[in-house]
Subunit: 299 residues, 2 copies
């Protein structure tokens, strides 16, 4: 057993999936749910996902040997403020936020000197939100990135957190928060922003055309609607908290799209063909890296 009591703050898709896996793999004695939403707490009780359930975050963290923060990054300051004084001496705090540099900046001031903070981020998820959509095997075979804060005191805590993610079936990688934000900006944040944008364009269409766009969405648009169906609060917070990386990458993307636009205008077929050949090579890399399968609750 890795920890005696684990408190999960924010019992959405990721939080509830972790709870399921902790229980399935017998990784702790007690799971505590701490979520400010009474609705979520009621559902967690109904689904039997936690041993104790609190809407009061401070109360929920009192006995925790490990606290896992699974709320949108924009709520980190409020969560830090709420739990700071009730954290047990020797406890470890970790999180699963998609932005690390700004998240650490927001949360670290609230971590007492006798508590360790080990920021983490699983590259796993679905477009669905809420405790009812979680499933334990969500993390199996997926990457779990840990971005330790370089102040030396946390070496053992980092190891314990890494071991926990490993026990959940994930592959653990360690990197700096800034590097994490750069890589995830390219692999996750920019693709999502683009998907939100293109689906947003469709929401502005006249109603009859919009109906047809949905009807014939299997031509490619469908995949963008899935990407653009993520939790609005979570994604708003990601974009605002990884602002400068996002702005730089939008700029870069714009330059490349402008070039493509020019190739179409000038009917430069060779240029288009060359690019499309290169992009299909990248796909081969993804398939070879076994990152092409989408996990689902049923699988």
């Amino acid at each position: 057993m890795s920890f005696k009591t684990i408190t999960i703050i924010g019992f959405g898709l990721i939080g509830s999936s972790l709870a399921r896996q902790f229980k399935a793999k017998n990784l702790c004695e007690k799971i505590v749910c701490a979520d400010v939403s009474q609705d979520v707490c009621d559902q967690v009780k109904l689904l039997g996902l936690a041993d104790e359930v609190y809407t009061d975050l401070a109360r929920g963290c009192k006995e925790a040997d490990l606290v896992v923060i699974c709320v949108p990054v924009g709520a980190y300051k409020a969560v830090g403020q709420a739990i700071s004084s009730s954290l047990k001496s020797g406890a470890i705090v970790t999180d699963v936020g998609s932005v690390k540099f700004k998240a650490i900046k927001d949360l670290q001031p609230f971590i007492p000197a006798d508590v360790s903070f080990v920021p983490s981020h699983p590259i796993a998820g679905t477009e669905k939100s809420g405790p009812e959509h979680g499933f334990g095997h969500l993390f199996e075979g997926r990457w779990f990135i840990v971005t330790p804060i370089d102040d030396g005191r946390d070496a053992l805590a980092v190891k314990r957190v890494c071991d926990l993610w490993d026990a959940c079936g994930a592959n653990v990688e360690i990197m700096t928060p800034k590097h994490h934000d750069k890589i995830l900006g390219i692999t996750s944040h920019l693709p999502h922003l683009i998907a939100f944008s293109i689906v947003g364009t469709a929401t502005d269409l006249e109603d009859d055309i919009k109906g047809e766009v949905i009807k014939y969405s299997a031509g490619g648009f469908r995949d963008f609607t899935r990407i653009a169906a993520g939790d609005p609060t979570m994604w708003r917070d990601i974009f605002l908290n990884n602002k400068y990386a996002m702005l730089e990458m939008i700029q870069r993307f714009n330059e490349d799209l402008t070039e493509l636009q020019k190739a179409i205008r000038q009917e430069d077929g060779d240029k288009l063909y060359d690019l499309f050949l290169r992009t299909s090579q990248i796909r081969k890399g993804v398939v070879q890296a076994k990152q092409d399968d989408v996990p689902t609750k049923g699988s």
Copy 2:
């Protein structure tokens, strides 16, 4: 039985899937493969997908009661030229191209007066190319759009082609070529162009970063690589042949992305949240329209 002899020109993913379904549903007596690639013809023989196999397109069309053109739209003129004089009187020609207005313009001059031309387009496919990746149930429950040429003489031919797609398990819809190109521009061509662009941006990254982008692609980028893995020739031809609709849509997309960029720069969280809420509504429409499942060879 719908037709005695059906010749399929271009035996790739769509052509070979149609051949499989024609055989499985007993929709014709004889299937003829006509493909200029000796490699493809060899593979079709090996897989036993056709009764006769020709690299000479004209020879392959001689006995056909129905000719189904399944080559990239950019090759329509060459195919028209090659088969024009060998088409049987009373035969029907159809196609499966993703662009209709320009495709009709390219092909129609080569259709003799005693032959009917019924342009079609199935909203079905995968990112894979080649006869070995086809499967008959690809069309089941999918839309098959027919865009008749309004010269009156083809009413019976249109009905026979619609009945054939219906017998393949597809849902048939009729619309004008221009309307087709507008709707598909939004639901298919623009999403693909955007995916090619964003994956292309990644191909320009330094090698070490590129490796990490592939490694952590499950965060969203993965889905774009699948969309951007389609056949380069086919997609080049689609963009060049739906040029004006593409340029207009890129312009519209750019305006919307610029607005999002500004919201991030100004940290306008409400604006982002409102958009993301609207896009998740569109997803609900797609799921309700049962267009959210991706067919695979194994399913």
